[in-house]
């Protein structure tokens, strides 16, 4: 849950967020390249979900298990939902929605790690 995989997700998400905000500033609608970047992040997040559930199954510690799984599911659900909602307005507003989704991913990863560690 901690370690290089979570760090990779954070780095990719922040890079995509910077790219998407660049597109917002340049007044550009959503296009294929940024969506492809989002698909890479989504693949990483699906791996995070699967790995997280595997680690959960292999752990006998007491922590908020339901919350943990819900956070992982939310991580996987947010980028496609943002892409779909953003796609509905083909101008910078739609791009801004995806940029915001990328930006909150590091926060979501931290929350997943906090719940895993039993912080809250």
């Amino acid at each position: 849950m901690t370690g290089p995989y979570a760090t990779a997700i954070t780095v990719v998400a922040l890079a995509l967020a910077a790219w998407a905000f660049g597109l917002v500033l340049a007044n550009r609608p959503l296009g294929r390249p940024i969506l492809a970047g989002g698909a890479v992040l989504e693949a990483l997040l699906i791996g995070f979900l699967i790995g997280g559930i595997a680690q959960l199954a292999g752990s006998h510690r007491h922590f908020a298990r339901a919350e943990f799984v819900l956070y992982l599911l939310a991580c996987v659900a947010i980028p496609p939902a943002a892409a779909a909602w953003g796609w509905g307005e083909r101008n910078r507003a739609g791009t801004a929605v995806l940029a915001a989704a990328f930006l909150i991913m590091p926060v979501m990863v931290i929350r997943v790690q906090q719940v895993w560690a039993g912080v809250g």
């Binding site: 339901a66 909602w85 507003a93 929605v97 989704a101």
Partner: protein, 136 residues
């Protein structure tokens, strides 16, 4: 963006900046719903008041999200009511959680004026009401 004249029809609340605003409301609807569902299902006895308030906040966020996304005249009124309740809720719950912390053994979305969520819950209703005025 064109300036709205007095007779211009109401602009949709779900376009431009509104698209982002609906996304943020949607995120909080998701967060509050998931949070209250987990709390009520797994440990309701610990802090019933806090968890019921979380559920109430979830409903408010869902109504605000849907009505801002729809953006017709009726939805606009519903959104105004929902966001006003949200504003009163975050301030009341925020103040109560400071003053009567014993009644809130566990946090809600609105505890400490939304400090657990970067104070976004405190800012959001002001932005929402401003946006409803702005697009009128």
């Amino acid at each position: 963006m064109a300036k709205t004249g007095d007779r211009a029809p109401a602009r949709s609340t779900s376009h431009g900046f509104g698209r982002l605003l609906v996304a943020v409301y949607g995120l909080f609807a998701l967060a509050a719903t998931a949070r209250s569902a987990v709390q009520i299902a797994t440990k309701f006895q610990v802090a019933p008041l806090a968890y019921l308030l979380s559920a109430f906040a979830a409903v408010v966020y869902i109504v605000a999200t849907v009505s801002l996304a729809r953006g017709d005249a009726a939805s606009r009124r519903v959104a105004t009511v929902a966001i006003s309740i949200e504003l009163v809720g975050v301030i009341t719950v925020g103040a109560s959680s400071e003053l009567f912390s014993k009644a809130f053994p566990d946090a809600t979305v609105w505890t400490g004026f939304g400090s657990g969520y970067g104070f976004v819950p405190l800012v959001l209703p002001f932005v929402g009401l401003w946006w409803l005025r702005h697009t009128r």
